[in-house]
């Protein structure tokens, strides 16, 4: 019975060093020491601070609560593990990893999971599957006409389960469900290429999401939800021309792509593989993904005479990410890196 009165003796704590590490980029390097000491709970520093769920940020009335916070017992408390961000009176805590949150106008790549009545359900790495309504696509033939019941019965001819679509977020309904559309010639089904998934936090909103990397002859679509599509430029152009011709002339017949349109040479396959591994390298190093950084990694890998698969090796990943972090930050408005954590 004596044991219950004793305080618990020292517990041996061993922290196994994790292999994947998220390092915060310290904006002002002299604040390094401040970051490690977790003392003052009342003030919010302008630089980033790590919050843990249950940790109190401030008293209830001082700030407006944004995402990742909630009120409890007169205090404003963080609900996720992440950085505090403050914009005037609005305080929010942004988690390092979270599911994609769609906004209207976002360009995304999605995968069809289900065919329902008059709509498809599309998986976009968000909290729920998004809807692609039958009325939100371009029917073959290009004519603007009413969707009839025979269209509804022939939905399978357009998109089947596991197809990839390139689309844009159209509308967010009152109950939180999201509708996407492909009502543009550049949107639609993606075929004959390579798919890759990265954390959606690394994708940046920019003017263009479809990038044709001329130096390697590779097309890259960077969906904001973290789904990325890589394909050979030549082949895609031929394919697109064929499809458009088919649409104009004989749209009522099933689309069959001839073999020579599907052909991709060995060299371009190598290039596609290299681009894909460059993107996963950036994802591994938790760096923002956009064409400039992809090309930097690509060029560096060629300079280092690495084969495409060497880019997956942890040693080379470390070398290249270190190299990238030494490159000067460019003053491009597209590259506002202060929003996202990066490797140091």
């Amino acid at each position: 019975m004596n044991e219950t009165n004793n305080p618990i003796s020292e517990i041996n704590i061993e922290i196994f060093s994790p292999q994947k590490r998220l390092k915060l980029r310290h904006i002002e390097k002299k604040n390094e020491n401040e970051m490690e000491v977790d003392t003052d709970q009342d003030e919010i520093y302008k630089s980033r601070r790590l919050m843990i769920p249950g940790q109190s940020i401030a008293k209830e009335g001082e700030y407006l609560k944004g995402h990742g916070t909630f009120h409890f017992d007169g205090n404003l408390i963080a609900s996720v593990c992440g950085n505090i961000e403050r914009v005037n009176k609005l305080v929010s805590v942004r988690a390092f990893k979270s599911r994609y949150n769609g906004e209207i106008g976002d360009i995304i790549v999605g995968r069809i999971t289900e065919i329902q009545g008059k709509r498809w359900k599309v998986d976009v790495n968000a909290r729920q599957d998004y809807f692609l309504m039958l009325s939100a696509i371009n029917l073959p033939g290009g004519i603007q006409r009413r969707r009839t019941s025979s269209d509804e019965l022939q939905m399978r001819n357009l998109f089947v389960e596991n197809d990839l679509v390139y689309a844009e977020v159209q509308q967010i309904m009152g109950d939180g469900s999201v509708a996407i559309h492909t009502r543009n010639l550049k949107y639609g089904k993606l075929q004959n290429g390579c798919f890759l998934k990265v954390p959606s936090n690394l994708m940046k909103r920019s003017k263009m999401h479809f990038h044709s990397l001329d130096e390697c002859g590779v097309d890259v679509i960077l969906g904001l939800n973290g789904y990325i599509w890589i394909a050979d430029t030549e082949q895609q152009r031929k394919q697109q021309a064929f499809i458009q011709k088919h649409e104009r002339e004989n749209f009522d017949q099933p689309l069959v792509l001839p073999e020579d349109h599907k052909e991709i040479t060995k060299e371009s396959r190598e290039r596609i593989a290299r681009i894909k591994n460059s993107i996963s390298l950036l994802a591994e190093g938790f760096m923002v993904i956009h064409p400039k950084s992809i090309m930097q990694v690509y060029k560096q890998s060629i300079k280092m005479a690495l084969s495409a698969k060497d880019l997956l090796h942890p040693e080379y990943i470390r070398q290249i990410t270190t190299y990238l972090s030494t490159l000067p930050l460019e003053n491009d408005s597209n590259l506002d890196m202060h929003e996202y954590p990066e490797e140091q």
Binding site: I11, F16, F70, S79
Partner: protein, 234 residues
């Protein structure tokens, strides 16, 4: 008068913790929690679309727990563990923020040397933090065993669990000093039970501070390990 146990610990010593986070690529969050020979991996997927639409809840997120033992198929014992863990986690996850979605937490036991439910709950807490799911606070859990000679062992091994008179799994949160989950079995006097509650609270607090430390260590990193062995070819 403290007796030492088989592995040399004192009665109120917990085994050393080890943890690893973000080990799985596909899962939204994952963590592995090890206490000497008891090791559990927790993977969190969520919030995602509800797979079985009959179970969809309109106002809240559905929490699904799946517990797979290290050896054999899941039995009714594992089902009970699933329900206990599910209720414990449901009390700290803010489920009202994600209505009509599902948060799946999947456990895989690598090795079972006692206190496995506590290990699982602690692993789940780390995995939920990794996944960025909103929580009210952190949760920590310990197991206590009460012996025939009225002594209390904290964090028993499998052998100690078999030999004890009574076993108790308890979970506390970081937000309040109230019990989130408790399951006690065996014969135990009420006095002893209530006397041991502060002990278990303190132990859970230690677990929670370990969890905080592990997360901070992972994210802040130790800056020195970064640039040691890299060469850049010109």
């Amino acid at each position: 008068m403290t007796n030492t146990r088989n592995d040399g610990r004192l009665n109120n010593q917990i085994r050393a913790f080890e943890s690893e986070q973000s080990l799985l690529n596909k899962a939204d969050g994952s963590a592995r929690f090890t206490q000497n020979k008891s090791s559990v991996l927790a993977a969190v997927y969520g919030p995602i679309e509800v797979k079985n639409s009959r179970k969809q809840k309109i106002l809240k997120s559905l929490i699904e727990v799946s517990f797979t033992p290290s050896v054999g198929n899941t039995t009714y014992l594992d089902k009970e563990k699933e329900l206990l863990i599910k209720n414990a986690l449901e009390s700290i996850i803010l489920t009202t923020l994600h209505p009509r979605t599902q948060i799946s937490i999947i456990f895989q036991v690598f090795s079972d040397d006692g206190s496995i439910i506590s290990c699982a709950i602690n692993a789940a807490c780390l995995a939920l933090l990794d996944a960025g799911i909103e929580m009210q606070g952190l949760i920590g859990s310990v197991t206590l065993c009460y012996n025939h000679d009225k002594s209390i062992y904290l964090d028993p091994t499998a052998q100690e669990e078999k030999e004890c008179k009574s076993l108790s799994v308890i979970a506390y949160g970081s937000q309040s000093s109230q019990i989130i989950m408790n399951k006690t079995e065996g014969t135990l006097s009420m006095d002893l039970y209530f006397k041991s509650l502060p002990l278990s609270k303190e132990a859970c607090d230690k677990v929670i501070s370990y969890i905080k430390l592990a997360v901070k260590n992972r994210i802040m990193g130790t800056i020195s390990t970064n640039t040691t062995s890299t060469t850049i070819e010109s």
